[in-house]
Symmetry: C2
Subunit: 442 residues, 2 copies
């Protein structure tokens, strides 16, 4: 299987990040004559496309994530370290961990992904919920169900309305998915489980600064998505830019006019940036980064002048055949991982060919039976797109007996059964952003 | 169904706590001509007997808990409030919530249960893990799997041994269950998923201050349990009293001699006490409490002089037919709930008959296929007891489609499949008790 002779020392491959790209790279290298070390800050691989379902209480956190070790059980040549990388020492070819350990490499694969970006407004982090990590999703779930509990207790209608308004900032796939599933869930929950909350009282507002939601898709699909959201009861506000967020709501600017949306739950799905480490360290090697910190790589997916460093996944900035940068999709990351693994198996340095992305299309789900899908110009919407979405996600979710469980959870959700709407924290935890004016409002 | 006339105002029943007792009481009252308000600090009912399985990564947190609202969906006369009770105003017959709301009652059911007690050593709380709440279990799971990650990173054998030693304090059912499942899990995990950790390196020490584990059971069963634990690889230390706990281990006193057990993970399963509120407020009514804060009640389960206040579950101190206090078991709480609901349905005040506990036996599980069981003098152990345990727990776990899912999770665990061993937090969260001397040890 290996291109190298038996007598040569085994090459060491270090993979930073165990998202879709990093994990796929390690798996593709399992029969190669190399030693692989996978380093991640978390112990788990996260199935990010399902994160919004955790937040909505539809699937449990354990169903949306799996330990990296378990995912790599069959890769006997891979070692997993839960650690934080603080430096790439490209001269010595070593990765430096947060406690000073140095892990030498012959080939480095940077696959550390993106994190939530507040575009410099870091104070917004404390008053809104991101949706990039498992902790984010569990936190958002606690807040959503906590808001319902607060509303149920609150006798004042205006104060209740604040608890029952959910503002989602950002009309990309995550924002659309969250808004759609919130609409379904609030309708179900308010009807069944809360005595005081009337179905019409809950309000979901999706704010997008651009002129249409799901902008990377064809315009006709964006329109269908917006219509689908409206159908579910989501208020879609296009051209609405957030100018301030606090614990009581969000201020927006629409066509130069200021407006205020009182909302106790603000979900931030508007921006991502490269994990800062990757960006800074890559720049030190002479690589260029874009505004979001993505690292510009050669067509071979390596850093210019460093054929031993590959960058894959969301953090890699590379142009597709149409000249536009490739989107941050799992399929892109997985194809890049396969490409890099092949180059490494072939012997490494500079041996890679240019990467070519085979477009597998893009999908976004809006709600039960509503989705849009675009594959090489082919546009789908409604149930066919939704069925494709389900199929693709179950396929990529992989084994470990989770598929069946997840499918059960999912399907029963359509019938209003949410097994995971548990608030882990106590009352005091839910009130993290304390409501100073509730008393005054009464 | 009701003893009262249609024209009379509906009586108001307030139930504080939605554990086994409170939930059963609300359910039993669902056809009674009363308005029920259930108040709990959490939004979920917790299936406490399975908590150790969450900590062991065998079942997910959502499988071990269900929203109280969902559990009470069929009780149309019940309202659920997620709130904290700060006072019982027995003169005005009102329950006061933490934000000043007052909930009037005609009949009050106190079912607020117990919390972890450190016998006055409140500093131990920060350096050990309790196991009474869902957050406790998730936290313990993070620590257990975090300890493995640390050990995998640690080159020094002595430092690694510290990470791989798990000290469980308290030989009651919880302590025994945790120790047993830790033994099974460490064996599986270390063999399969960690390259550096050798199976013999992990050590589980169960410390009991008394002269035998599971003291409430017959002595022969205690012996069997201890032997079963030893079989699984647990070091059982009887007559070992914890004298100090810190982030690096536990100091014990055995027959007057001091000893130190270095361990990064210390699990506290040694003591419980009544939620302080209940104890203090009950005392204000003239009721007596024992050392653990349990409220001494009349044979009718009401507070002396207050026939409108019932106390049920772990927090009630009442003697069984043998004169000994009834144990803190779910079956006791559920029977008491039925008794109180009957009295309330009959018309309330003072109308109750003395409560008589129908002994349904007690169970403790040690590990895969190992359990002990004692029902009215009948003693069982091994697989028959284990099968009984499984059956009883699945029966009591109730509906919501969780039984099947749980059974699947459970059974696959026996084959080494743990779907829920995810560390929710990031690296920094896992290191909450920072290891100052790790660097020095290397």
């Amino acid at each position: 299987m290996s291109a190298e002779g038996k007598g040569a020392p085994r090459r060491r491959v270090v993979i930073v990040g165990a998202g879709f790209g990093g994990l796929a790279a390690a798996r593709r290298l399992r029969r190669a004559d190399v030693d692989v070390t996978v380093i991640d800050r978390m112990n788990h691989h996260l199935f990010q496309p399902l994160l919004y379902q955790v937040a909505a209480g539809a699937v449990s956190d354990g169903e949306c994530a799996a330990p990296i070790r378990v995912k790599l059980r069959r890769a006997a040549n891979a070692r997993v370290l839960m650690a934080e990388v603080v430096e790439f020492d490209v001269t010595k070819r070593e990765v430096v961990l947060e406690r000073g350990e140095r892990i030498p490499y012959d080939h480095l694969v940077v696959a550390c992904g993106m994190e939530t970006s507040y575009f410099g407004n870091d104070g917004w982090k404390d008053v809104s919920c991101g949706l990039k990590t498992l902790a984010d999703a569990v936190d958002l779930r606690d807040r959503i169900y906590g808001a319902f509990e607060e509303a149920e207790r609150e006798p004042d209608a205006a104060a209740r309305a604040e608890w029952l308004t959910f503002a989602v900032i950002g009309g990309g796939p995550t924002g659309v998915e969250v808004a759609g599933s919130l609409a379904v869930l609030t309708r179900q929950s308010s009807r069944r489980d809360f005595a005081r909350i009337r179905p019409g009282e809950t309000r979901i507002v999706l704010l997008d600064a651009g002129d249409r939601v799901l902008a990377p898709f064809h315009e006709s699909l964006s329109r269908k998505a917006a219509a689908g959201l409206a159908d579910l009861g989501v208020t879609v506000r296009e051209g609405a830019r957030a100018t301030a967020i606090d614990s009581r709501g969000v201020s927006i600017s629409v066509d130069g006019a200021d407006e205020r949306i009182p909302a106790r739950t603000v979900i931030w799905a508007a921006g991502v940036r490269a994990v800062p480490l990757a960006a800074t360290r890559a720049t030190a090697t002479g690589a260029e980064t874009d505004r979001a910190g993505r690292i510009a790589v050669d067509p071979e997916l390596t850093i210019p002048g460093h054929p031993e460093i590959s960058v894959i996944g969301d953090v890699a900035k590379v142009a597709g055949s149409d000249g536009k940068p490739l989107p941050g999709l799992a399929t892109v990351a997985i194809q890049q991982a396969a490409h890099v693994a092949k180059a490494i198996r072939r012997g490494g340095e500079g041996a890679g060919k240019p990467f070519r992305y085979l477009d597998k299309g893009a999908l976004a789900v809006i709600g039960r039976g509503r989705a849009i899908c675009e594959i090489r110009g082919l546009k789908m919407s409604g149930w066919p797109a939704f069925a494709t979405y389900l199929g693709v996600h179950l396929f990529y979710l992989g084994g470990e007996g989770k598929r069946l469980k997840l499918l059960t959870d999912w399907v029963t959700t359509f019938f209003g059964n949410r097994g995971n709407q548990v608030i882990t924290g106590e009352l005091s935890t839910v009130e993290r952003a304390p409501p100073p004016a509730v008393g005054a409002a009464r």
